[in-house]
Symmetry: D3
Subunit: 134 residues, 6 copies
Amino acid sequence: MPLPRLFRPRHVASAHCDLPCGVYDPAQARIEAESIKAICEKYQASDDPEFRSRSLVIKEQRSELAKHHLWVLWTDYFKAPHFERYPQLHTLFNEATKLAGASGVKGSVDPAVAEQLLTKIEEISKIFWETKQS
Amino acid sequence: MPLPRLFRPRHVASAHCDLPCGVYDPAQARIEAESIKAICEKYQASDDPEFRSRSLVIKEQRSELAKHHLWVLWTDYFKAPHFERYPQLHTLFNEATKLAGASGVKGSVDPAVAEQLLTKIEEISKIFWETKQS
Amino acid sequence: MPLPRLFRPRHVASAHCDLPCGVYDPAQARIEAESIKAICEKYQASDDPEFRSRSLVIKEQRSELAKHHLWVLWTDYFKAPHFERYPQLHTLFNEATKLAGASGVKGSVDPAVAEQLLTKIEEISKIFWETKQS
Amino acid sequence: MPLPRLFRPRHVASAHCDLPCGVYDPAQARIEAESIKAICEKYQASDDPEFRSRSLVIKEQRSELAKHHLWVLWTDYFKAPHFERYPQLHTLFNEATKLAGASGVKGSVDPAVAEQLLTKIEEISKIFWETKQS
Amino acid sequence: MPLPRLFRPRHVASAHCDLPCGVYDPAQARIEAESIKAICEKYQASDDPEFRSRSLVIKEQRSELAKHHLWVLWTDYFKAPHFERYPQLHTLFNEATKLAGASGVKGSVDPAVAEQLLTKIEEISKIFWETKQS
Amino acid sequence: MPLPRLFRPRHVASAHCDLPCGVYDPAQARIEAESIKAICEKYQASDDPEFRSRSLVIKEQRSELAKHHLWVLWTDYFKAPHFERYPQLHTLFNEATKLAGASGVKGSVDPAVAEQLLTKIEEISKIFWETKQS
């Protein structure tokens, strides 16, 4: 029984676990990046040192997850023909994963840096869904 | 800068990391359950013992992730007023997490069992999005 | 060869790994909660910023483990007949896991909050052992 | 508020998270070893290849946990004076952790091997509780 | 006090933990790949179904670690000027991480596939050490 | 095809994953300890509270990894004859793993403590390679 229209993703996703199962979805990276941005905003709004310390601990974990989901897309979903069709794809992923790391959201509590990561993920999503449709 | 309309989720999600960051999304559990279903289908279609063994290893991991994402929604997103408004919610989550475990997708390679898990997650999603809108 | 009387738990435990192996024991959650309480006490007694930061990092991990052990009992050990016999059980677990999270021991360094978590775990243990004996 | 007599461990435990919090308890290793023994028994009683594969996956994880809990006791709880008082302690732990590995319960599905691990853990428990009382 | 000559790596390594600490070393990926190759050889030499199942479980974990260590080098160690100087570097890492996954050592028990992964890691090591010296 | 001379470790390593695969290498512990030392140095050189908090989070993880790699060598690589030949080996590993924990690099940000850990790992490496050659 398929999912009713209302709750299905706009595009049918496929592969992410390296069996491979064939279910990939950039939403996994995006959800972590949204979380990171919200953490940065809460960090800026708080002056409680314990809350701020917890924020940094959790942001580190979420950043690592965002990075991991992006790496999986780059290695497991995208194939040689995609890299030919989108010559900027390697650089895009390299920059996106750097933004998910020390020189990006791991090393910053500025929501604007998290927004840059979201923008990169969105560029990747756009290409991802184009390749799913073709 | 917000995400362009095309790539935004239909509803703006909020909280999942127990800071809490306020970004929750049942899509996390659904993506794992879709992966599990695809693994079961590939398992049934294969007679390679090595592939089948790998399938079972990976299905165990994905099931645990689906279970975890459901637990997070039940404990961290839903609050007392939600449980009053939806008296079936505890049972729904208990059944859904059991379906993500040994008596469900962990202990079975039947895609129909994975479909049952997807149906439960869809019921939870429906309630989740109702509570986000109200 | 059974364990000698002296070192056996008071009640023979059964199931926790979702094979299921049939070995469950609320002691797992309790040990983490005792650790959390001790961490809070040491945090309060210290004014070394490095020790305090480490305390918060470790408390976050221990809280997640306590939460996980509770979730496992709720989903894997307790069955429909238990929930009929103990109608408060869903709420008890939901509150206990919330106490193991951001609105409880994750978000607080007050030993009294850890004590509240221990008390909830004790209520769960009491029911657990009643169901093991019947 | 202390735990009521009925639910307290027979001896008050102390230290396991390397803050250190001061809560250690050999019960953590014992619970995993009991799980491993139950898995071996269920494995022997089953002729379902999928169940047997899952058993091996889960036994591997549980064995690693038992090994880890033993390592923590050896490094974090026991101090130089204990090793002087119990000269066999190093060898006991080395043998116990080997029994939790490839030459023990990881590499075997014989419940008797799991029983040997339980016996070693019991020897360690005996010494542990002696040192807690003195 | 520096390490005596005999036990120092041939080149002083630097950065791997994304603080960043500045200690990177392709040896981490290589050790995992050597382990994978040895697992494949032991798998081929055995006809014990339990040993073979364990081999597949462990090979999956080791492959994921090899993949992770390679991703870290690609994202965290190599910078834009390196990618200009070595235009093949993106493709090299993409192929190496694919070889560490389902289309490589995860999906195969042939030691020759593990050898291909080792060869790719060696190519990466060669470039890595060149960049450390310049 | 063996690795060309230039990129091979000075001694051929063997066993670390408890299959066992037969690939062990003290370099795994050493790389983590070098990372810890670099983290301590960067911590001391910085007065940015966010950077310092991140340093403590990451140092905790790296210390746990160093400890784990040492435990694996002690339990999985070294056998009874080694412990007879090197009677100091148990104490050496117990002290090294304590140095990787709360009373060592976890509880300190002094690079000199990390250096002590490196020195212990070097002593272990020396014995390790002696046993590989004989």
